[in-house]
């Protein structure tokens, strides 16, 4: 956003890396991710499975398994989050920072009443008594637009539909009035009509409460309308970051570009061939020092296989981690070269039918 220069920096993630040692090797789930978030802003993190978006969120929420090795800094409202985690600070997560999860069916405890699960947070963190917690809980249900909140308060999760459950989850997350809400694929498991309502709700709540939002999704379309800024992740790295309209209209990273092309859209003709992304999915275990998208990238050149391109560009406007960004002169040249060769530097066959990028 052009005006985020005057907003208060709320969250700052610096060079965050998360590794999981396993028998088969070290899984590098997140590799040097950095981003900042202003108070009241919303950031979309978009990526396919395995891109590290959820791990990033869980790192922020201190939800990683003990085996995880984390490095880098996370600062939230001036406090070092990782130090808070080490010191087992009690009333921070759930109070300042809250999170909602993908599947409303599973993110509510099936054996506890919805109301109990909401008021539990209030009682635990804010030491409300049973009665007050109930009142506030019902208010929260009201806030997230649940009809008949009193009745719902005493119902079990299985008695509610998916959409309602996700609203309950949101109410739960909002209970202590957090200043940052992390939504991890909040609408993946619900139908489109419900998804729309939920996204609207999150948007509304964010604006009403001056809350920041990190929206994690695999669906570029979801992030587009709801976020001030979008970060695209691939293999544990942010490969491109920028404003939604820029990203959609003028994707620079070949991955973003390819992703957009591979999505079927309403405005493309029927039976139009989709541009699938070829090549193997990224290697997460003991990855080699190279651009992780290179093996699948139609623009890949020899130097893409030599070193990892760093995220660079204008912070707040557009940052790309690529040596040969798509839709640029450099990119077009690289593509032309590869097509002439019939394959990329990483050995990916260039399909004759493949559309040019740019």
């Amino acid at each position: 956003m052009p005006d985020n220069s005057h907003s208060v920096k709320q969250l700052s993630v610096q060079n965050l890396s998360v590794r999981f040692p396993t028998v088969r090797g070290t899984v590098c789930a997140v590799n040097g991710v950095s981003f900042e978030l202003s108070q009241g802003a919303s950031l979309g993190i978009v990526g396919e499975s395995g891109s590290g978006k959820s791990v990033t969120a869980r790192t922020l929420m201190n939800l990683l398994p003990r085996s995880a090795e984390v490095s880098g800094g996370v600062e939230f409202e001036g406090a070092d989050v990782r130090r808070l985690a080490r010191e087992r600070v009690k009333h921070f997560w759930g109070v300042k920072m809250a999170m909602i999860f993908q599947d409303p069916m599973t993110s509510l405890n099936p054996v506890k009443k919805c109301g109990t699960q909401i008021s539990e947070t209030l009682r635990y963190h804010l030491k409300r008594d049973r009665k007050t917690a109930r009142h506030e809980g019902i208010d929260l249900l009201n806030l997230v637009g649940i009809p008949e909140p009193k009745k719902r308060f005493d119902q079990y999760p299985h008695e509610l539909s998916g959409g309602l459950r996700q609203r309950v989850v949101i109410a739960m997350a909002l209970a202590c009035d957090p200043s940052l809400l992390i939504a991890d694929e909040p609408t993946t498991a619900v139908d489109v009509t419900v998804q729309k309502h939920l996204l609207d709700l999150l948007d509304r709540l964010r604006k009403e409460r001056g809350m920041s939002l990190i929206l994690i999704t695999h669906d570029l379309g979801v992030a587009r309308r709801r976020c001030d800024e979008i970060a695209v992740m691939y293999a544990g790295r942010i490969v491109e970051r920028g404003k939604p309209e820029d990203l959609f209209e003028d994707p620079r990273h070949p991955y973003t570009d390819a992703l957009l092309r591979s999505m079927p859209r309403l405005n493309t003709p029927i039976h139009s061939r989709l541009e699938a992304i070829g090549g193997p999915p990224p290697e997460l275990i003991n990855p080699t020092e190279q651009c992780s998208f290179a093996p699948r990238c139609t623009l890949a050149q020899a130097d893409c296989l030599q070193s990892v391109p760093q995220l660079s560009g204008v912070i707040g406007m557009r940052e790309i981690a690529c040596f040969y960004p798509a839709n640029t002169k450099r990119g077009r040249r690289a593509l032309a070269k590869n097509r002439a060769r019939g394959k990329t530097a990483a050995g990916l066959q260039m399909s004759a039918r493949r559309h040019t990028s740019g």
Partner: protein, 330 residues
């Protein structure tokens, strides 16, 4: 909406598959019934791709399973090549089966985790050992190559493949017996975007290569839009709107279709977002609403919608059929 009747059936006689008044009900304890499908009628011409869309719980998966007789059918008929699949039993049914194959939603659980994928793909031959002709044309390795699985990996098991590859294996298995109709039940919804495109492309390729007729079920309108010739929109076990894909997407008449289109994160330019704002929850299929089943959420519902169930009717002479008392007139 959510209408009854067989008004949606096209008059041409060369339909490959004609479903009439198909009803499926499941007992859900205490003598209550879940009305999964209620009087669904439609037809599919040879070589056509029918996209079936609707929210979860609308009966689209039940429909798929009913056509290939994985469900008990309450009433109605499924005509395929002059035979009524709904009444076939035992060996007769078994003999028809190779003609109608299916691809499942969860690519991994649709493959037996303990069997080598070569055997999984070749299962059809093992069952129909006598089909020499099939063997001659579609031997397993060739098929593996054509779906993009390296035959050298044939000795591996499902868990050693990614979701996309598993779906390819599933497609190969389905194609081995040279089916006429391929029913795809949400074949790409469990896949990542980049892989989804590969599988969709593959399906298109295979359709052309083997002359398939596709029933493509999805909740993702964009995907359906890309692959389907015709679209059928379902709601709570009934058909709302059916017709040529272009017509449906560009001139949706049914309020529900419009709502679906409006709810897409990147909504279709043909509908206004506000127009599709339907509220409320999907009613229970155990106790569906009287009259038009969409009446509880429909922004255009009038009195008649609560009393009378709309019949499906053709819009003019176009390939566009609709069940609604108050359609949107553009």
């Amino acid at each position: 909406m959510a209408g009854s009747g067989d008004g949606s059936l096209r008059s041409e006689g060369d339909m490959l598959l004609t479903v009439r008044h198909l009803s499926v009900e499941f007992p859900v304890g205490r003598k209550r019934l879940l009305y999964a499908l209620s009087g669904v009628s439609f037809d599919v011409a040879e070589g056509e791709t029918l996209g079936i869309v609707g929210e979860s719980g609308c009966g689209k998966s039940t429909l798929a399973k009913s056509i290939i007789r994985l469900n008990q059918i309450k009433s109605g008929s499924i005509e395929y090549q002059g035979r009524n699949l709904a009444t076939l039993r035992g060996d007769e049914l078994r003999r028809v089966r190779p003609d109608l194959q299916m691809i499942f939603q969860d690519p991994i659980s649709s493959l037996n985790p303990r069997r080598k994928i070569r055997n999984v793909i070749a299962e059809g031959l093992a069952i129909w050992g006598d089909r020499q002709g099939v063997w001659a044309r579609n031997h397993v390795e060739e098929l593996m190559v054509s779906v993009g699985i390296d035959p050298k990996l044939g000795d591996r098991r499902a868990h050693q493949f990614s979701g996309g590859q598993c779906q390819r294996i599933g497609i190969a298995r389905a194609l081995l017996l040279d089916p006429k109709v391929l029913i795809c039940d949400e074949p790409v919804s469990a896949l990542d975007v980049s892989v989804q495109a590969q599988v969709l492309n593959l399906l298109e390729d295979m359709k052309i290569r083997y002359g398939l007729t596709l029933l493509f079920i999805s909740h993702d309108l964009c995907v359906v839009r890309n692959i389907a010739d015709r679209i059928m929109v379902m709601y709570l076990g009934k058909v709302c709107e059916i017709g040529d894909a272009k017509a449906i997407f560009e001139h949706p008449k049914h309020p529900y279709t419009r709502a679906l289109l409006a709810a897409i994160p990147e909504p279709a330019p043909t509908v206004e977002v506000a127009e599709g704002d339907i509220s409320g929850e999907l009613p229970s299929p155990i106790d569906p609403p009287q009259g038009c089943r969409f009446n509880t959420r429909c922004p255009r519902a009038t009195e008649i919608c609560f009393i009378e169930e709309p019949l499906i009717t053709q819009l003019g002479d176009q390939d566009h059929y609709l069940a609604c008392h108050n359609p949107v007139i553009s």
